[in-house]
Symmetry: C3
Subunit: 466 residues, 3 copies
């Protein structure tokens, strides 16, 4: 056991257990280990990049803003108010609480990612413990004070070729324009119109007003709103955007006739839309977004099946995105039937399906991607963006849809420092999965070499029209 | 890597990755590698066998009629009209399109099967590429012109002991009778009454008329239809049939009282049955089919949970079975409660459950098969008839229901040439799974040898009363 | 193959297949192999322990009372009346039937457990066959006649530190009190109020009357019933109980206002409660049980999603718990929203979630346990308490919730002799899973050593407040 107590050599991580498979996996991984990163979907803010301010210290960099981290600390009894989520807490105290609860992350990808970040970005190989926490805090803080730890410098160091952000249709995209000259990374916007789809939610009216200002088009009718969204999509496309993103509680996309739809819009403006009408409004909107994608060719990303804000006392106190968005049972095949009958074989249309209910991988997503030219199986997302879940995804999807109807890896993160290790993890796991197919005699090693290269570069570029 | 570039030796394929397990698996596989094939359920046509015509060339043999193949080509943008699905296309052009899209099948069992067919049946070890496509096309065409590539010769060569076809109750079964003297394979019919269960579908009236002609019994009442079906089941049994097959969107089997049921039948004849009544009619019919099976001992196969014809424009243009039949979430335990309360412990009754929603393997099917003497867990079907899915099936089912309440392998295919490799794949995977149990110390190697033999021969013969 | 025909050495069982992983797993397993057993949930009867009578022979010890065993025999056509389930059958004949059907258990954990019990408890290494059955029967019977095979002696021999029983609120707990001096094992009660939650069931009225007698509190109102339950919980806590258990068909917990709830209680007393009202009553009761747990700190175990008594003819003839309780599709996230909004972050409250629908592991349970401080992921239960299912549980849960929000192993058994082997199996599988994480470079061997120790001892003690 002693030989293992310092951990497995980096060269072997996540590449499989038995030696024969691991040797093939190592060889495959070496093909793509140094490939630049293509990140077609994520949540790093363009404003953060443009500002290019120094990060002050590790807690506000790695803990407080990352709900992957704060939710598990919360699960171990540390209140979000003790983590500075919506209030001021001494960051060194936050870091210390994190170090004391570090064992809670054993077996999770978060621990794997942060460990790699400490080593790769900050050169800290020492184990994080309550004892070492202070010293590590100081060492990171010191490095963050240097210019080569500013956001844009990190972007360069991480060798990110393309970085897609996620943006509101009303966003001016000024930050993206200014980034064109500021970095060699292509930072492109993604059009996300979620809040326009929820006419019973409190923010809907504000959203409409902001969109009217951004577009100069009145949103007093649904036709107006639709027109404004269409125009803004063009602005996004001109700014380099190639895709949209939509997050919905379910994937139903059912068109309403325009008269009924306008009535719902009026009711919503009057503040009198019922819950079931609001649902119908959302489902019609999803259908219309597909219609727009079929027209303008922006790739439609669909993230379905998340119950937002499960614990309302936490939302009331700390706001949204605080760790209690949770998966719902999710179907795609029945809910998307209207949409796919209409646009499923349309030339320009493309939709990438993401789920946090893994039952839908083999039941819905792979069979849909295996017939419809427009449908792609999105990479494992959120709770499923972890080593075993990624392997389950490959196993569940590849046999029905092959590899070339999958999206390629998507990091979907707002944690800038985690981007390299997330992509690296995905490359290793793809190598490990392909190696089992080689050893099983299902594909040749030559095919596997082509596949690992395509999965890393060619496929995401092609699927997202980059 | 070089040593692997030509692929893994045939002797090792699909037998597991680590050497210790693989050695046990090889040994287990060798027990059954040469066993004759028992195929208790499939879709090869008896007419094709009786006619015994030469196949003309590879595209119409291997591509056009196989929706496993055409659907993935379609998913990559090749229209069904470019594949000759309902129109005439130069077959060499189809073959060339297939070769150009061959990479899309990497990781799917279709690629594995076709590669093995090329080697085993046609002696073609050369890789299929756009460059080699023409030459391979010619070599296969040349072989297909020979008498020993006619359907019956292939049947002999494949060493198929029993081959079950799938047939309409109105089928005369003449082809089956003629095949008795024409081949040593026992070609037996399977009674599939699906179209009689769907009174709102366009083909229902025609079906009734054809059944009236075949049976000489009026189907103007449900009692008449039921009588006719009962009579035809006897004819099927006399022709060697031992089982029936039923495909339904859900597994609900709820009996109606005869008066209500007759009213639905009358409504349907009048063309005025509602959608919900049509559903009640189908669910009553499923219950009645179980009743008949309890009487006559024909084994009831239940294939539940497929949404047929998801993309209606494709159906309108190219017909049914064109690659967009897709899985629905599927339960068995609740839907079959009435049926199993009535027939679940009846002496003669036997039902084999098949699903394309793998969530039902461990949740529904294994627990049902682990209590009811009449219930058997059907082999992985359709989208799940692939290496990893087959292993997931074994893992999900065996621990609750053991091996002796599973059905044995079923190829369920209309692709004659794929039958041997499908059975071979299943034998290899069973060997691999049993080997892990041996290495894990759960069963002895001697037990595993008995099991692999029973899974291949004894169990399918026994479950299907062959 | 010969080297394997006698089976894998005990030291290697269930520890993984490839040699590198197995070596790490062996090392990890050795850390906990001899740890005493903590059994925080099970169904061994305190009365059986107090009586401390000799078991008479193997059939009534190992077969007849264990529905894991009888259900699979029933599935192979052996009637429950042939197994002595509710009638007298010569036990040697039962044993012989079992031996003849022993092959049906290949691949199931039941076979693994019983084989280990024969070796470890009775010293019988000989294979059970129809030929050896009689001799083995005699040898076991002879041993059972000895004093060191009485229940309390076995308890000592098995080194069980804590054994939780499951008890009705009306139980006097006399047996538990008497056991304090009779054994060094801490035998503690668990409060299970299921039958008080089902006001339309036949036993509800009797339950209320028994509870009235036990508590001295009238249950003529719901307030009274609630008061009585609260009082009894205190009695259970005083007798060492630290947890409650609740089994429900679904996890919905929806509070009613007291007036409506009292109306349902009155209707139920009058025998006129509707099915939907009975459901509302149950769901309110589940909410109230959580409320009580938040008050008194008894850990709430929730076992959701079992359809009881699927085959009513069997229930009518043989009673409940006869092998046809079957899994239903089960959610937790939506059904528990009201409950968790109210108690999810309450200081004292703790709930452990168990499922027999494994789709809920990664979709519901792990994400809930990964946010709510009160929620823990219960160990795999019933149909899922088997090697592959346990590994799937670890894979599905750990990446989202880590290890420290899982419950530790729970044997949940009434089969006293199976307790040691069940715990041993769990320890081996945890070792095997942790070993793959070590080899994959996700955790260090040192971390794995701490984890295996905590999973075996610290975690169950801490989660169940032992």
């Amino acid at each position: 056991m002693t030989i293992l107590s310092s951990g497995i050599a980096r060269a072997e991580r996540l590449l499989g257990t038995d030696s024969r498979t691991r040797d093939v996996a190592k060889s495959l991984y070496s093909v793509v280990a140094d490939h630049p990163i293509v990140s077609p979907h994520g949540h790093v803010s363009a404003q953060l990049l443009v500002a290019n301010d120094r990060f002050s210290e590790p807690a506000t960099l790695l803990i407080t803003p990352d709900h992957y981290v704060t939710r598990l600390l919360h699960a171990h009894g540390i209140g979000l108010d003790e983590l500075g989520v919506r209030n001021d807490v001494d960051p060194r105290t936050i870091w210390s609480r994190f170090a004391q609860t570090w064992h809670a992350f054993l077996g999770t990808p978060v621990r794997y990612w942060i460990q790699q970040e400490l080593i790769d970005i900050f050169g800290i190989a020492e184990a994080l413990t309550p004892e070492s926490a202070d010293d590590i805090y100081d060492r990171i803080s010191e490095l963050l004070a240097q210019d080569d730890y500013r956001p844009l410098a990190l972007l360069e160091r991480f060798r990110i070729d393309v970085l897609a952000t996620t943006d509101d249709p009303a966003d001016s995209l000024d930050a993206h324009r200014r980034l064109r000259d500021a970095t060699s990374t292509s930072v492109i916007p993604t059009f996300r119109a979620d809040r326009y789809m929820l006419p019973a939610a409190s923010g809907w009216g504000d959203a409409l007003r902001e969109l009217e200002i951004a577009s100069g088009i009145s949103c007093g009718t649904l036709a107006g709103l639709t027109h404004a969204l269409r125009e803004r999509r063009q602005v996004f496309a001109s700014a380099g955007g190639t895709s949209t993103d939509t997050g919905v509680i379910d994937a139903w996309a059912t068109p309403l006739n325009p008269v009924d739809a306008e009535r719902l819009h009026r009711d919503a403006l009057a503040g009198s839309i019922s819950a079931s009408d609001a649902r119908a409004y959302r489902r019609n909107m999803l259908f219309r977004l597909a219609e727009m994608s079929a027209e303008d060719g922006l790739v439609m990303q669909l993230h379905a099946g998340v119950i937002r804000n499960h614990h309302s006392p936490t939302t009331a106190r700390f706001g949204t995105d605080t760790g209690h968005d949770l998966p719902a049972p999710t179907e795609f095949t029945r809910p998307l039937q209207d949409l796919l009958e209409t646009f499923g074989t349309a030339t320009n249309f493309r939709i990438v399906l993401f789920t946090v209910d893994e039952a839908s991988f083999s039941r819905d997503i792979a069979p849909l991607a295996g017939f419809y030219p427009s449908v792609y199986a999105g990479a494992p997302w959120w709770f499923l963006d972890a080593p075993r879940a990624i392997l389950r995804y490959r196993e569940a999807v590849s046999e029905t849809a092959g590899f070339y109807k999958t999206s390629g890896f998507i990091d979907d993160t707002r944690a800038l420092c985690s981007i390299p290790v997330r992509h690296d993890m995905s490359r290793r796991l793809d190598a490990a999965y392909l190696a089992t197919l080689v050893i099983d005699g299902q594909i040749t090693a030559t095919d596997a070499e082509t596949l690992i290269d395509d999965l890393t570069s060619g496929i995401p570029r092609s699927v997202f029209r980059l």
